[in-house]
Symmetry: C2
Subunit: 155 residues, 2 copies
DNA sequence: AAAAACTTGATTAACATGGTCGATTCTAGC
DNA sequence: GCTAGAATCGACCATGTTAATCAAGTTTTT
């Protein structure tokens, strides 16, 4: 499950990208909240995170607001997921950034659970790292670029 | 992240499948705990769940224990994940079994977040439903059966 | 009858999630 | 330089989940 917070983050980014494509005026937090469906007070934290990470910029006071400062093609879905939700790995022992040994695991090298979920994970990473905010905004099916074909393993 | 509980469940099933392949005697909960690395008291609950779902059988009293009663080829990883962790969908609005409308979503049909994660999810489902306990126990890379190829979208 | 082992339900501590609130700091415009 | 409007910051809180542990059963075999 991706968290509600991440969903709000993605939707807010879409709103700001939309505005950026149109004219470029900064949006008040309240307007972003309305257009993305996120509660205003909660959205504050999210926008702060996005700002600290360099995706958006802000101006305070009158005429203030938030605006996208990064090219939507340069913002991958994976970046946002990692920023808001934290590590994406299905097992702690599979995370590069937040590696942790599994207490219950005798030998990591031969752990079958690890091997199998590692397989899933690398396929997932491959897809989600290549998908960008720009893809999220286009109408097409962004995963069409990938084809997942099952190869009969001569059984 | 898959939960620790699910990991214990998978490992316990592997232990029992291993024993089944060898001779077929029921294993005491304590032995399963040792061999899988799970705490005994916690494992009790897990084995109960697996039993109620019909994967394993139990005998009480002296000479009692648990044993696998289903063909490992007929037990998909997805079944176990769903049983222990619950629904696997990345968004509540994508789950078949536990569907829930997203409050913040104006129109589900055109929601881009939903469309994109729906794409991931169906690829994931395809893989995890076809992977079985038997695959988990073999030494090969079970996901070799799938090939994930990136198709350049003539850009 | 007693021992071994499964079964059940209650309880727990720690953490994550999804918020809310109040106070503060900055900035444009009068 | 005052003030209204806006972002910023930090603390707080309610609820639920996770990963266990424990006590007290019940059932079966020897």
């Amino acid at each position: 499950m991706i968290t509600q917070k991440t969903k709000y983050a993605l939707k807010s980014l879409m709103v700001m990208a939309d505005e950026m494509a149109r004219d470029g005026t900064a949006l008040r937090i309240e307007e972003i909240a309305e257009r993305s469906g996120a509660p205003k007070r909660f959205l504050e934290h999210i926008l702060l995170d996005l700002k600290r990470a360099g995706f958006i910029g802000s101006r305070r006071g009158r005429k203030g607001g938030y605006e996208l400062i990064k090219n939507p093609r340069r913002i991958s879905i994976a970046m946002i997921l990692r920023l808001i939700d934290g590590p994406m790995a299905p097992l702690p022992c599979l995370s590069r950034k937040a590696y942790q040994r599994c207490e219950d695991c005798k030998d990591e090298e031969t752990c079958r659970v690890r091997a199998v979920f590692g397989g899933f994970y690398s396929a997932y990473i491959l897809m989600i790292e290549s998908l960008t905010l720009a893809d999220l905004m286009e109408d097409s099916q962004p995963l069409e670029r990938f084809s997942l074909s099952e190869v009969a393993a001569g059984e």
